[in-house]
Amino acid sequence: MNFRLKIGSETRSLEASPLDETRRTTVMYGEITHSVAVDAIDDNHLNVRLDGRSLNLFVGAAADGAWVWAEGRARFVEDADKLQRRKSSGLLDQPVAVTPPTPATVMRVMVEVCQMVEKGQPCVVVSAMKMELTLAAPYAGTVTAVNTQAGAKVMPGEILVDIEPLTEAKADE
């Protein structure tokens, strides 16, 4: 079985043989082959022997992926193929729009429609968990719409300010 997994900004490929009746498998990670045996301890807890070394891995399924924990390190692991489909919806890109990174409340809107903004110029200040965050313009351009107002509850992915980018020619000036 082949897996393409996205962890953070990296995508990696793994190949694993199906589990045999003693719950053993061989995992190929590029050139290196590992022998793996696994026991399910409960719905979230796996005990894995990786080349004989015992590891406790904890797995929690979430929408579009799973959290995996190993020795204090937690990762959100996504299936790269499912991910591709989400990406086209624009939700998962690096910040290229004025959108909060976490559910938040809008404190101030600092730009107006038709205003020219520079890359990095503060557009909206939001508050989340007692901290103020300034959302900056991801690129230079012209504000074409302001979709929020002070006091609004906003969510990640919600575009608070629409900015039409400068053409490259203009940006190079």
């Binding site: 409960d42 022997r49 390190r73 937690a74």
Partner: protein, 498 residues
């Protein structure tokens, strides 16, 4: 002693207070907002009163609702925890006026100390050393510019009413001052309801060393030694320890005496913390007094053996402190790591969400004060602290090793936490050598990234979990034990993460 108290707070600190109250045979009342209906502090209390909407103004900051809750449930005292109303003298005064007991200092002491500029003036008068800086709040940008020029850059913009790094800004050049002042004032206004700011000298890589004090109603004041809280991100403590690796017994005694003098100067009663900055020459400066229980109080409890919440309740009930300064002894070394729902890769930005799975570290010398359970949703409305992991051991190296062991047993799935980051800080050579200062994270960990070895294991976990498929776990099934594999097999790419 009170027969019932109301805890006007939420999360791990409310749970921690309720545990001691229960041991003292004092019944507890929780209060909660809409989003906290099934939060751990509500589950832990003997009874719980719904306050209102999740917005703090409608719930945990609402004087009237909290006082009504106390009266209706027959609570005799209100413990404010930390944050929310803990350092609000108007609330403390109102509680007293309503015939209830506020578990904390008198409103007058809080007022004196809560305003940082007043506090600085008071301490100067009593010969407690203070950092050079303004002695009054200021909003005029020209006067701030002038003051900054006089103090000399870099300067620190601070909220007169605040604490915990809120509203604080470092300003290195005159050009940065206007924006920094405006942002700081705005943050201070929204956090404390008071936008006053002032400036002080910014010290180069100082240590943050604070002293726990206890004072009863009869003028008896003692200190419970120091806590070093130099490891900070965004000006907020993330690792605390005691004793400080930087203090000689002589310096400890001098700083302890200064802390007691500071408390006396303010007519302080109950538990409090006198914060100092300790510079590289060994000079120390009064920073502020936190007029409440601190997040990091457990490390003092573990080294002194004293339960600070018990003492708070006893003092508030009018009991005298049953010990003198010389009776208070410390033993061993304690470290606390704060576990927040936050992303260390993205400047520790809050990371709220649903806790898919949580599992507590256990074993000798480990204490985990938390309010997390599998299935609980971390609300976006409040401070994102999940818990405090605290260890005690015979000495600092053993305590570091124990903390690393405990962090590796601390499972939280569903939100980002700093656990991996904390592991790397604790394993850092300079940290292990005790060479800590308030810019430690900035200096050595600003470009920190999670290890790729962790990615390898996560990929493995994902793959085997997928292959096992949906399951009802049945142990002792008929397939027999997975036979052990020789440990001598080459570990390959994974052996680096041992």
């Amino acid at each position: 002693m009170f027969s019932k108290i109301l805890v006007a707070n939420r999360g791990e600190i409310a749970v921690r207070i309720m545990r001691t109250a229960r041991e003292m045979n004092v019944a507890t009342v929780a209060v909660y907002s809409e989003v906290d209906r099934t939060s751990q502090h509500v589950l832990t209390a003997d009874e719980a009163v719904f306050l209102g909407e999740s917005d703090p103004a409608e719930s945990y900051l609402n004087f009237d609702k909290i006082i009504v809750a106390a009266k209706e449930t027959g609570a005799e005292a209100i413990h404010p925890g930390y944050g929310f109303l803990a350092e609000n003298p108007t609330f403390a005064q109102r509680v007293s006026e309503e015939g209830l007991v506020f578990v904390g200092p008198p409103a007058e002491s809080m007022r004196l100390l809560g305003n940082k500029t007043t506090a600085r003036r008071l301490m100067s008068e009593r010969n407690v050393p203070v950092i050079p800086g303004m002695t009054a709040a200021e909003s005029d940008i020209c006067r701030l510019q002038a003051a900054a020029d006089e103090i000399g850059y870099p300067v620190l913009v601070k909220a007169a009413a605040g604490g915990g790094g809120k509203g604080m800004r470092i300003v290195r050049t005159a050009g940065e001052l206007p924006d920094a002042a405006s942002l700081a004032a705005s943050e201070a206004l929204s956090a404390f309801g008071d936008g006053s700011i002032y400036l002080e000298k910014y010290l180069d890589r100082p240590r943050h060393v604070e002293f726990q004090i206890l004072a009863d109603m009869y003028g008896h004041v003692v200190h419970l030694f120091e806590r070093e809280c130099s490891i900070q991100r965004r000006h907020q403590k993330i690792i605390e320890e005691t004793p400080s690796p930087a203090l000689s017994e002589e310096l400890r005694a001098r700083m302890g005496a200064a802390a007691v003098a500071a408390a006396r100067a303010a007519g302080y009663v109950n538990a409090g913390t006198v914060e100092f900055l300790l510079d590289r020459s060994g000079a120390f400066y009064f920073l502020e007094v936190n007029t409440r229980l601190q997040v990091e109080h457990p490390i003092t409890e573990m080294t002194t053996g004293l339960d600070l919440v018990r003492r708070q309740l006893e003092i508030a009930a009018g009991l005298p402190l049953p010990f003198a300064q010389e009776d208070i002894l410390r033993r061993g070394h304690a470290i606390e790591c704060r576990i927040y729902a936050e992303d260390p890769e993205r400047d520790f930005m809050p990371s709220p969400g649903k806790i898919i799975y949580a599992r507590s570290p256990e074993g000798p010398g480990v204490r985990y004060d938390h309010a997390v359970y599998s299935g609980w949703e971390v609300p976006v409305n409040y401070d994102p602290i999940l818990g405090k992991l605290v260890v005690w051991a015979e000495d600092r190296p053993s305590a570091c090793a124990r903390m690393i062991r405990a962090l590796k047993e601390c499972v939280i799935l569903g939100v980002k936490t700093p656990i991996e980051f904390l592991l790397d800080v604790l394993s850092n050579e300079k940290f292990q050598a005790g060479e800590t200062h308030t810019h430690f994270i900035e200096e050595f960990f600003s470009s920190w990234r999670p290890s790729t070895a962790g990615d390898d294991l996560a990929a493995l976990g994902f793959v085997v979990n997928e292959m096992l498929g949906p399951r009802t776990v049945e142990r002792g099934a008929s397939v027999g034990p997975a036979q052990p594999i020789s440990p001598w097999h080459r570990l390959g790419a994974w052996d680096m993460i041992r």
